[in-house]
């Protein structure tokens, strides 16, 4: 090959590789985004059905219940306006408590229960998951506008 065509092959190959890689990345990105919804949005039917998403808010006081197997937990997540029942099978994080903030990831079942695959709580006593804080704040804002 002449040097010129050699360079063409090299540059062309590099560009093709890069395009393929970028296409792969963007495709994977598109398919794996997890959106966040507040309990109010979920109650209003704005959350996607059959897709994984996150909800956040406070764990409603008095809502934590264990099923007979001891492993499955049911609790409710509230943004103080609306409440979503959640079912989760597994070990809860150390700082998961009633009345405290939590974020759960999972899918919405047809009966309206949120089946969680992951429960995130905070890392120390002072800190509230920002999604949970956001949800409560949104509900407060919405509540304020209704009252006016």
């Amino acid at each position: 090959m002449k040097p010129r065509s050699k360079r063409l092959v090299l540059v062309g190959g590099g560009v093709a590789l890069l395009v393929a890689a970028v296409a792969l990345v963007l495709n994977a990105f598109q398919q794996n985004l997890v959106f966040f919804h507040t309990p109010t949005e979920v109650a209003a039917g704005k959350a996607p059905s059959g897709k994984t998403f996150r909800i956040g808010g406070l764990v409603e006081v008095g809502s934590i219940q264990r099923e007979a197997d001891g492993i499955t937990v049911r609790f409710a997540v509230t943004d103080t306006a609306r409440t979503i029942p959640v079912a989760y099978r597994g070990t809860l994080p150390d700082l998961f408590k009633e009345g405290k903030g939590a974020v759960v990831q999972g899918r919405l079942e047809s009966d309206g229960t949120f089946r969680a695959t992951e429960v995130l709580a905070k890392h120390d006593e002072n800190y509230m998951p920002p999604e949970a804080a956001h949800a409560v704040e949104q509900a407060h804002k919405a509540g304020a506008t209704v009252k006016q």
Partner: protein, 657 residues
């Protein structure tokens, strides 16, 4: 008094950093030796004062001086002494001080080990490092003074975050910072080269050992952090694609690319501007990592800053560093064109391919880490990008990297013919595919990912052996021990690090395919079975620690009637913050870990227990250890020590050919 001395020492260090940043640079541009010579003592003096300040803060922690706000917030009289000392870098202010200290250590190392560098070049390197130091010391003094007084002093401290009270956390931050900050040396070399317009093989040869050592520290730091997450968080996972993990992984990926690109620049004089760009990129990502982790934009155990000023300051620093260096690059890089030409089939092409893939991988992590932050900042909704995205991207991107990684060393520099090389590696390649498929069937877990992982691991191991045999075959005659010793240290470094990747893949693939987990409710005397192991719950006792109360469970683990271990996981409640913590218990073995963590107590008196069976998980860290060891071998190569005598790029090129 002592905290004030520490504060004052920091101010003096800042003044010296300014001197180090300005005077040698002026000297270099005017070619005045006297001015250039200021750099070395200024850097060493700065090191002295930063180390003094660090000692002062440590002293305040050791003596529990709660009239210092930072100490009051992160220590407690009941905290054990070693966690009081590590509390120094347990939060924002102190970890910045550690950053500054590590930078000073690296700078002093440059002044000590770079006697052979031309004066002008060394002056510029020290000048660039001085500017970085000015940025960080000013940041600390303006927004995050660790010596801030709390008057009147608190009677008792709030204690260090219990998650950080762990041996892994003693060494993780210093190692990681040695890595992060170490890239500032590679960056300073690149900027100095851009300023001098000198960017030849000799420059790459000066820069290489520094970059490799920084990479070794970063590798070790990430590995220790991942080990900590594995046994401390109590979920049995070793990598979560958490933004803070990504923050350290991005500079690692780009740093890996940089090491390889530097090799090409040193041996062949090619890829010069690409190498400079990678050096700028690796350091910028280190800064970005510091910003992401420390500014509070990401909430995690690492994020401390509640003050938005701090985030802004780091962001400003980041913009200045990236902006100025890219401008300089745009201005100077056109002069760098040229370098050794190479054919399509050559080792250079293989390394170029790996460089591109590693950079794309790094960019994909950047995208997944930053995109949610951007959306949030713009008020366009909250999203998260989890492990599925990163796994979907990483497997296809890293597969060709691993294939090329073992193929490249068989190719000659400059040009080679594909046919004979392919014929040489074909047996190993075919055998790897067979081993991948065969092993997947043998372990009864035939998924594409398992087959791919095992085949790649086999490919790395087989090709490594073939490379070793080929190198030994080149020196016929001598005894095999003599032939082994005759191989250069740098070659052993490459070989070990690549083999480490193979060992790492074995661990990742097997633990991913074969791990088992069971959450069960257990009462005293009850048993559970997992993966052929029997766990008998022997009850829970109180086990108070120095600054916590704990419930300690005892489980007897046996297999086929043979007792294997007694595991004692704990549920702790740290008194000062009232924070609960799970402390898992592990039986670590070369081929499997058995991992038990204690959940909560149920009203009927039984406990939730999580049992994990983790085959080959230690191989993940064994692989990282081999990679780091490889880096040490590579950096210790004799030719770097003979630097002073041989400088000509021609000599380097001749030696390579």
């Amino acid at each position: 008094m002592i905290p004030e001395l520490g504060h004052f020492a920091l101010v003096l260090a800042l003044v010296l950093a300014l001197v180090q940043a300005v005077v040698p640079m002026i000297g270099a541009s005017r070619n005045r030796l006297a001015l250039m010579a200021v750099g070395r003592p200024a850097a060493q003096g700065q090191f002295f004062f930063v180390a003094f300040a660090f000692a002062c803060l440590t002293w305040a922690f050791v003596t529990s001086d709660f009239s210092v706000e930072y100490v009051a917030l992160h220590s407690n009289t009941a905290t054990p002494l070693y966690y009081r000392i590590t509390g120094v870098w347990g939060s924002h202010e102190g970890s910045l001080l550690l950053w500054a200290l590590v930078l000073a250590v690296w700078t002093v190392a440059v002044t000590v080990f770079s006697r052979h560098l031309p004066d002008v070049f060394l002056a510029r390197v020290l000048g660039v490092l001085g500017w970085i130091s000015v940025g960080f010391l000013a940041f600390m003094l303006v927004t995050s003074n660790p010596f801030e007084r709390l008057l009147p002093g608190a009677p008792e401290g709030r204690d260090l975050n219990p998650l950080l009270q762990d041996p892994g956390m003693i060494i993780h931050p210093p190692l990681l910072y040695m890595g992060y900050v170490g890239f500032s040396v590679a960056f300073a070399f690149a900027i100095a080269a851009l300023l001098s317009g000198r960017m030849d093989a000799a420059w790459a040869r000066w820069s290489r050992p520094w970059t490799t050592v920084a990479w070794v520290f970063l590798t070790a730091g990430i590995a220790v952090g991942s080990g900590w997450a594995y046994y401390e968080l109590g979920w049995g996972g070793w990598w979560f694609w958490d933004p803070v993990e990504n923050a350290s992984f991005m500079p690692w990926l780009l740093g890996t690319a940089l090491i390889h690109s530097l090799a090409v620049t040193e041996k062949r004089g090619a890829f010069r501007s690409w190498t400079v760009l990678l050096a700028i990129g690796a350091f910028s990502l280190s800064l970005l990592g510091t910003f992401l982790v420390r500014s509070g934009v990401i909430t995690s155990v690492h994020a401390f800053a509640t003050d938005p000023k701090r985030g802004l300051f780091i962001l400003f620093l980041l913009v200045v560093v990236i902006g100025v260096s890219l401008l300089l690059y745009a201005w100077r890089a056109p002069r760098l064109s040229g370098g050794g030409s190479f054919a399509f089939v050559s080792r250079e092409t293989a390394l170029l391919g790996n460089n591109v893939l590693l950079s794309v991988a790094s960019a994909s992590v950047l995208l997944g880490t930053l995109y949610p932050l951007f959306l949030d900042a713009l008020g366009m909704g909250k999203i998260s990008v989890g492990p599925p995205y990163f796994e979907a991207v990483f497997v296809p991107l890293m597969t060709p990297v691993v294939v090329l990684m073992m193929f490249g060393p068989f190719l000659r520099w400059k040009g080679d013919t594909l046919g004979p090389v392919v014929r040489r590696v074909a047996p190993a390649f075919v055998a790897s595919v067979a081993i991948g498929v065969g092993t997947a069937f043998a372990i009864g877990h035939v998924t594409p990912r398992t087959v791919l992982g095992l085949a790649l691991a086999a490919w790395v191991v087989l090709a490594s052996l073939q490379q070793l045999l080929a190198r030994l075959g080149e020196r016929a005659g001598a005894s095999s021990a003599a032939r082994l010793r005759g191989l250069p240290s740098a070659w052993w470094g490459m070989w070990l690090a690549h083999l480490g990747v193979g060992v790492f893949i074995i661990g990742v693939s097997l633990v991913g395919s074969l791990q088992q987990n069971l959450d069960v409710k257990m009462k005293e005397g009850q048993r559970a079975e997992l993966a052929g192991y029997t766990f008998v719950f022997r009850g829970v006792q109180d086990a108070p620690g120095p600054n916590y109360d704990a419930a300690r469970a005892t489980l007897d683990v046996s297999r086929g009637g043979v007792a294997i271990a007694t595991l004692q996981p704990e549920k702790r409640l740290y008194r000062a913050q009232g924070m609960p913590m799970t402390e898992a218990a592990l039986d670590i073995g070369p081929f499997r870990d058995v991992y038990v963590s204690l959940g909560e107590q149920l009203p009927d008196g039984s406990w939730i227990v999580s049992l994990y069976f983790k085959p080959f998980i230690s191989w993940i860290w064994l692989g990282c250890t081999l990679m780091a060891l490889g880096g040490i071998f590579a950096a210790a190569d004799r030719r770097y020590r003979k630097l002073a005598e041989r400088r000509a790029p021609a000599a380097a090129a001749r030696q390579a050919a």
